[in-house]
Amino acid sequence: MSGRVIVVTSGKGGVGKTTVVANLGAGLALLNRKTVLIDADIGLRNLDVVMGLENRIVFDLVDVVEKNCRLRQALIKDKRFGGLYLLPAAQTREKDAVTPEQMARICDELKEEFDYVLVDSPAGIEQGFKNAVAGASEAIIVTTPEVSAVRDADRIIGLLQAADFHDPLLILNRLRPEMIRRGDMMDVDDINDILAIKLLGIIPDDENIIISTNKGEPVILNEHSRAGEAFRNITRRLEGEEVPLMSMDFDLGIFERLRRLWNRGNKG
């Protein structure tokens, strides 16, 4: 068996890469896909806290590379899901503690056993990014509808294409429907026009993400969260299913709001 190794990257920091990795991992595990998540952000590890596994780390990526432990021993099993594992980054080391070749070897070994290997890339385009992409054959780019984030995404797409990633996929995160409607935020089409890569999904801005991250639980488990629904859709698309893009008109339109105000006024 040979699984898919997918790097999740963005160029710009703070656009939601780690949240995407944690939720896609949980989503794939819920679909009974054996999945391992690699935190490639050495020195600034975060995937462990987003997943709520920070207290269970014994060994990390650098320990595996330096042969302080076997790869198996460094994998943390997420007990809430069958078949979800985390390979944490080292927190007290530098990016150059791992080389792209070593990273590629780890990915190769993991893909023999797992259906999915998702690599959480650090921000930037230097060593950490090069490590993160080294073992991957597919890429997901996360961006938000802001000039700086889309610009960086465009740079990353160029770098990925130069490195033979032919069909990177795009996730557009933190859309705010109300701002889009009043013309103060770029919409899916605007960004598609510029980046011109295949869209894997859109995720609305959702307070539930912060709440779930506070608790260390993936938002994909929250049935009432729009972001959770978006992640469930994206996971199914990764599995090859055709799922329509979610509507960005789920929050109330102005007429609906006026109507409600009117009704309330009449009653009160």
Binding site: V150, R151, G158, G183, D184, M185, D190, I194
Partner: protein
């Protein structure tokens, strides 16, 4: 009500600015022309043109522009006078 709304000044929505700025910055990034290189290019164009016409260097503009699907080098050079060759 309708009247009031139409008379109130609403600021133009900012999305258009975002898209326009983004297009331009992405074009620059993709074309890989560094700012320094652009200055050299500008200098050489001025030299070449100046052999035939006198241009207003203060007022001239050279920039990369993006249309829907291509990048253009657009030069705008006010001519002061034509040299007799």
């Amino acid at each position: 009500m309708v009247f009031k709304k139409s008379i109130r000044e609403t600021p133009p929505a900012s999305k258009k600015q975002a898209v326009d700025r983004l297009r331009l910055v992405v074009v620059h990034d993709r074309s890989k022309i560094a700012p320094g290189l652009m200055e050299i290019l500008k200098g050489e164009i001025i030299n070449a043109i100046s052999r035939y016409v006198e241009i207003d260097e203060e007022e001239m503009e050279i920039e990369l522009n993006s249309t829907k699907n291509r990048v253009e080098l657009v030069a705008n050079m006010p001519i002061r006078s034509v040299r007799r060759v």
